[in-house]
């Protein structure tokens, strides 16, 4: 390769036989990047794409159910569509979008230059994408998974689900699961090991704390579903007898393994969103978060208690009255820490000078909509009541209120809030407000009526319903609502495009457009590739805020420095950055071959396996970006202006 080093990206000279790719901004840069910010953007783009895919699947469901005996989708196709809607939304949209925020923001919020293992970070993204591709290839290779996102065996075994769809499910989710596990280890080490000088755990922003709990949940929950998926895959592909009832296979084994993962999973889904609004609400209330220690401890409590409630998904599965009673109690208790958070967000707003910009609207949407979803959740905890509610649309209403109302609104709050940080321009606040209101109305019209439908007896997971049960009105309302949601997403896309066009040719927006509180706003917008000019030294919680504001003699808050004075200008040069690498994407590219090979023809696994093994060895042997890293591996050198931190394990050669 010829050495033309762009001024902005200072990359070390490669050593040895293998050269590492250069920085830049073309497609090659994106494909080989190990920069946490670019990886965050990649996750975000992929997640939003899959969100639209899942949304189209939702619209198909709603079209089918708008009228009794609908004819839009046949029963088999309906099963595929509703299964993929769930799988796509949870694993390919919500989790990666949270990962986008985690990857972009965690290093910035803790004052670091990147994550602990930058190449592993890239690998996680490409492996996730490979898994998403494998899952969606099913549509054209014999049929999509059709056993629900929860995949209950033996219904999903080869006898009752003969199409290859559930093989794609088992293998596709196994792949995305590996991506999540690697990422969670990476971010755990990053948060624990790479905080800037002075940033004790209790000076971290609530967002980073919630992300830490999320990563720990991922670390311990992903292996459980991995085993469940292995058992399902081995049953379907190799004839293992795990779920064959005729020889003693037990359907409950699947349910336990799935939900032992599945319940922590819902906290994995919601905690990032809670973290996001814990940054947005204080910023737009111009007050610190109320009860910071309570916010942190309730997050930790949710992380712990989330492991003790899983069988509330199994109340009618025959586990017996003692188990049901125990899990009923534990489920009631888990509402408490979330209640603490709701009260703290409200107390943060109370007495604040609130500005209802778009991010704040979405954040308030979370608090209110999640509360509604939480209340219906509490009604499910009471197991006798749940016996009527379960498998009806009342449950569908509950989880969409917490998933859409809690997670999606929170993620949109984050998008509007951090858009200037990532892209250097604001999204239009006016269009953002329209986006919010259309989404709020559409969302409530879609899912509110489902509470009624469920209690009136409408089953979930059915492709059609007969006339004469009284389900017609609310199903039609719900369908109309879903199209309003679609409209709100279109409004968001319009906002993205128009804001980008308006910003073209303009200077990037100035520093700290929201007068925010945490360290990521110390850097200019968009964030320079090296993050901080100087690694900050932290002296308090809300460090950035305290650099701008002090108190006068009467104890009133006064501004002591402007954003321009406090914020960096991004002009540092000569900062060592981890070098890009081909091998993450090469590794990931082998995985679809392995999956397809296991499903269709074992020979295909050979090139896949070779790609993976080759990528691993090339990865180990490619030169480290920093020659000094070969000597001992001590990784954080906080406080230096030009430091070679974030290097990875020294290769053995």
């Amino acid at each position: 390769m010829t050495a033309t080093t762009p001024v902005e990206d200072v990359v070390d000279q490669p050593l040895g036989v293998y050269t590492r790719p250069r920085g830049g901004n073309g497609w090659r840069d994106w494909v080989t990047t190990v920069d946490h910010k670019k990886i965050g953007i990649l996750y975000g783009v992929a997640a939003l794409f899959f969100f639209v895919v899942g949304g189209i699947e939702a619209l198909l469901i709603r079209l089918q159910l708008a009228t009794p005996n609908g004819t839009v989708l046949g029963a088999d196709m309906y099963n595929q569509v509703f299964t993929m809607h769930g799988v796509t939304m949870i694993f390919l949209a919500a989790m990666p979008l949270s990962a986008a925020f985690a990857n972009y923001l965690i290093p910035l919020q803790i004052g670091a230059r990147d994550v602990a293992f930058p190449r592993l970070n890239a690998l996680s993204f490409w492996v996730f994408l490979a898994g998403g591709i494998v899952l969606n290839l099913s549509w054209v290779l014999g049929g999509a998974p059709d056993g629900g996102w929860f995949g209950y065996a033996p219904n999903t075994g080869i006898v009752f689900s003969p199409s290859p769809g559930m093989d794609f499910y088992a293998l596709g989710l196994q792949i995305t699961g590996v991506a999540s596990l690697m990422s969670s280890i990476n971010l755990t080490v990053t948060i624990l090991n790479m905080r800037a000088p002075g940033m004790t755990l209790f000076r971290m922003p609530v967002f980073t704390w919630m992300m830490l709990v999320t990563q720990l949940l991922l670390v311990f929950a992903m292996p459980v579903i991995a085993v469940a998926l292995f058992l399902l895959a081995f049953s379907r592909l190799f004839g293992a007898r795990f779920f064959d009832p005729s020889v003693g296979g037990d359907a409950l084994l699947w349910q336990h393994l799935f939900w032992i993962f599945g319940h922590p999973e819902v906290y994995i889904l919601i905690l990032p969103s809670f973290g996001i609004i814990s940054e947005v609400i204080p910023t737009f209330s111009r007050k610190p978060i109320f009860g910071y220690p309570f916010m942190v401890f309730s997050g930790i409590a949710i992380g712990f208690m989330g492991w003790g409630v899983w069988a509330h998904h199994m109340f009618v599965s025959g586990i017996g009255p003692i188990s049901v009673a125990a899990f009923s109690l534990s489920t009631m208790f888990i509402a408490v820490p979330t209640g603490v958070k709701i009260l703290n967000w409200m107390a943060t707003m109370w007495g604040g000078r609130i500005k209802f910009s778009a991010p704040m609207l979405f954040a308030v949407g979370v608090v209110s909509m999640f509360t509604i979803g939480g209340l219906s959740g509490v009604t499910h905890a009471i197991s006798p009541a749940d016996t009527q509610q379960t498998d009806t649309y009342y449950i569908v209403a509950h989880f969409h209120y917490v998933i859409f109302g809690g997670i999606i609104f929170g993620l949109f709050a984050g998008l509007y809030f951090w858009w200037p940080k990532v892209f250097g321009h604001m999204l239009s606040d006016l269009i953002g407000k329209v986006n919010f209101w259309v989404m709020l109305v559409g969302f409530n019209l879609t899912f509110g009526p489902m509470h009624v439908l469920g209690l009136q007896g409408m089953s979930r997971r059915i492709d059609s319903y007969s006339p004469g049960f009284g389900f017609e009105l609310w199903n039609m309302v719900s369908t109309i609502g879903s199209f309003l949601i679609a409209l709100s997403i279109a409004i968001f896309v319009v906002n993205v495009i128009m804001s980008a066009m308006r910003a073209r040719g303009q200077a990037p927006c100035g520093p700290d457009p929201w007068d925010a509180r945490s360290l990521e706003w110390l850097t200019p917008n968009p964030t320079p590739v090296h993050n901080f000019d100087e690694v900050p030294v932290v002296e308090s919680l809300d460090e950035f805020w305290h650099r701008k504001y002090g108190t006068d003699d009467d104890g009133r808050v006064v501004r002591v420095a402007t954003a321009e004075e406090v914020c960096e200008d991004g002009s540092a040069v000569g900062v060592h950055l981890p070098s890009p690498s081909f091998w993450p994407i090469v590794f990931a590219s082998g995985l679809p071959f392995i999956a397809l090979g296991l499903i269709f023809n074992l020979w295909l696994t050979v090139p896949g396996g070779l790609l993976v093994v080759m990528a691993i060895y090339a990865w180990i042997f490619e030169p480290v970006d920093d020659p000094d890293a070969a000597h001992g591996d001590h990784d954080d050198h906080g406080g230096d202006e030009v430091t070679a931190d974030t290097t990875e394990e020294a290769p053995v050669v």
């Binding site: 624990l192 000088p197 037990d250 336990h256 586990i319 188990s323 001590h634 954080d636 906080g638």
Partner: protein, 106 residues
């Protein structure tokens, strides 16, 4: 971590390592325990069999983790992660097995 903390824990390769001969002694203890465990296959010790096996298993486990894996001498965060995973796994799976009436029906 503050700079001070970093310098302190910079060297988590701690100064007291067991010597090689100590490692051999530990291996000997492990061997003896294994022999005792296997002996239960040949000698009927009645209803205390399972508790005795469990205890010996836990002791072996602990010895390997504490000395061979160096947990005893290293940063306690490592122990927290490992023990955390262990405790969580045992708790969650014991509860699941209980719903299968494993303890009464096996």
């Amino acid at each position: 971590m503050s700079t001070a903390e970093i310098t302190e824990e910079h060297n988590d390769v701690v100064h007291d390592h067991p010597s090689d001969s100590k490692y051999f002694q530990i291996a000997l203890i492990l061997g003896v325990l294994t022999a005792l465990e296997v002996a239960t296959y040949y000698v009927d010790i009645g209803p205390v069999l399972i508790p005795v096996l469990m205890v010996m298993m836990v002791v072996k486990f602990f010895i390997v983790a504490a000395w061979f894996m160096h947990l005893r001498f290293d940063n306690s965060l490592f122990t927290k992660f490992f023990v955390g995973g262990l405790v969580l796994a045992v708790a969650v799976y014991v509860i699941a097995l209980s719903t299968f009436e494993f303890w009464s029906k096996g």
